[in-house]
Symmetry: C2
Subunit: 344 residues, 2 copies
Amino acid sequence: MSSEIFLTKDVKSDLTNYLKGKQYSEICLLTDQNTGRYCFPLLSELFPKASIIQVEAGEEKKNLSTSEKIWQKMTDFQLDRKALMLNLGGGVIGDMGGFCAATYKRGIDFIQIPTTLLSQVDASVGGKLGIDFKNFKNHIGVFQVPKAVFIDATFLKTLPPAELRSGFAEIIKHCLIADKTQWEKISKKTLTEQNLQELVAHSVKIKEQIVQEDPKENGLRKILNFGHTIGHAIESYFLEIPDKKLLHGEAIAIGMIAEAYISIKKGFITLEEAEQIKEYILKIYGRVDIFEFDIEKIIPLTLQDKKNENNKIQCSLLEKVGKANYNNPISYADIKEGISYYNS
Amino acid sequence: MSSEIFLTKDVKSDLTNYLKGKQYSEICLLTDQNTGRYCFPLLSELFPKASIIQVEAGEEKKNLSTSEKIWQKMTDFQLDRKALMLNLGGGVIGDMGGFCAATYKRGIDFIQIPTTLLSQVDASVGGKLGIDFKNFKNHIGVFQVPKAVFIDATFLKTLPPAELRSGFAEIIKHCLIADKTQWEKISKKTLTEQNLQELVAHSVKIKEQIVQEDPKENGLRKILNFGHTIGHAIESYFLEIPDKKLLHGEAIAIGMIAEAYISIKKGFITLEEAEQIKEYILKIYGRVDIFEFDIEKIIPLTLQDKKNENNKIQCSLLEKVGKANYNNPISYADIKEGISYYNS
C-alpha cells in the first residue's frame, strides 16, 4: 500500500478534485498556531464545516499529552471510522496527527499536507508515524501510510530561514546516500541559490523508491537514517537545554558530519570526501558548541535508537559518496571521535 | 497475515518448542497481579531472564495511564525492535499489551497467552488491540495480529465462576451468529455441564474464519459485534457505578437479548426464538436492574460505537438463529424497546 503523492502549486484546487466523489462522513483538520495562521487561509474556503483541531506548535508538544487532547477533540466531534483527518503542518503535525488518526477507533484515513521543507522532503512520505516519549524521539508510533500527500511549494514562502535550513539537511542526506551527481551540483551552491521545488521532487522520489522496497524498515530503508543515529541523540540532548535547542535538520547536519567520519574509520570513504561534506555543511549551518561533558551525555542516548539490535548500536554509513549501507555496529569510541571530528 | 493458533494442554512445552530457533533479542512478559500469581508459575521456568511487567488488574486499568507505565518499563528494559512481548492474561492484558507492543518503536512482535475463557474465545484472535479512553471502550487502538496465540485450557481452572460466565457469553454469541446446531446443543445444558475445551475450539474456529475473510472489519467481521452495540454501552455505563459494575460478557449477554428483540422488530427472527434466547441467558446470568433513568443515559453511549457511520447507529442483528447480518440502522426507540424487553 502506498500513498498518492501530489506535487502541486495549487493545493486548494488539487485537494478539491481529490475529495470529489469521496464519501467521507466528516473532515477534520489538524493545525498548530503557526500553520493555522499562515497556511490554513489557503484552504479555509474548502472546509466551512471542517472540524478544526489546533494544538501548540513545537517538537516538545509532540507527546502523549497533546495526543490525548487530539483524541479528545476527535471524540468530541464524534468522528466515526469513515471520517478523514487532514494534517496541515510540519513534521510534528504530520507524525502526531497521523498517529492519532491511525489509532482513533483503530484507524481512520488521513492525508498529509506538509508545510515545511523538512516535512515535504521527509516526514510526509513513508508512513512513519509517532510521538516522542520521555525524550526518546518517535518512540511510540506505528507504520501507516496516508491516503494522499499534497506537497505545495507555496507553503515554503511562509517559512523562516532556519526552517528552510533544517529541511535542506534532509535534501543533502538524500543526495549523499543515493545521488552523487546531485550532491556535486548542490554542494556548489548556497542555500538561497538552490531550486527548492526541483530538489523537493528529487528527494521525494528517492525516498519513495526506498520506502517502497522496504516499507517497515527491515533493511534497506535504514539507509535513510544516515546522520540520524548521532543526530537524534544530539537533538534529544539539546531539547532539554532551552537556549541550545536545535531544529531537527540542524542536529542531523551535525550527525552527518560525525557519521561521515565514522565512514572513513570503517574504510568506506576518504578523508577528502568527508572534509568536503563537513566544509559544505558548516558553511550552511555554522558550528554548534558541543563540549566534552555534552558528548558524555549524548553518547548513551544513541542506545535507544530504533535501529539497534541486541544492545549494539547499528549505524547507517556512507559506503561511498552517493551510496549508503546499514547495520554497521559502532562503538562509543566511534561516536566520540565522530563528534570530535565535527568540533575540529 | 494471520497468527499461528495453538490449542494446547501444555503451554509450557509448546511455547518452548515454538521459541526454539527464534532469534528474539529479549523476551518481556506482561501480567497483572492475578495472572502473575495464578498463571505465571506455569511458565516461570522458561523465562529466568524475562523482563516482567506487572500491572494492576481490571478493565478500569485498560487506559492510557497504564499504557504509559508499560511503555516506560519497556524503555527501561531497553527493548529493541527484535524483542518479543508475551501477554499473559485476560482481554485487558491482551488488548493493552498488544497495543503497547504494536506501538513501541512502531511495533515489536507479540504473542497472546489468554488465560480467561473470554479472551480465549474472543480477544486473543483477530488482532483487535486497544485501550479504553474516557469511558469509550477500545477507543484508541490498532489492528495488528500477534505472531502466535497459545490457548491452554489449564488456565480455566484458575478462574472464578463469574469469569467463566462472562466468557461463555461470547460462546453463546458465536453459536447464535454462525451455528444453529451448536446453539441448540449448548442451550440444553447449564454452564457447568458444557465441554468448555470443545467449545473454545469451536469458537476460535468460527472467529478465525470470519476474521480471515474481513480482517479490518469493513463488512462481514461486524457480525461478531452482535450484542455489542447495546452491550458495550451498558458496560461503559455501569463501569462508573462501583457496585453495579458488570463483566464484559455479562453486559454482552444483556445486549444480545436487547438486540434479539430488535431482530424481531426488523422481521428477522420470531418472538419465540427471541424468547428462547432470553430465557436461556437469564437462566445463566440472572437479571440486572436497569431503570428508566439508566436507559436514558445508556442510549447516547451507543453513538460512539465504532461501527456507526454518519452518526447513524449501525447494529449487527440475527437474520435468523445461527446467522447474523450487519449495518442495520437502528433508532434510539429500538434500543429503548430492546432494553425494556430485557426488563420484561
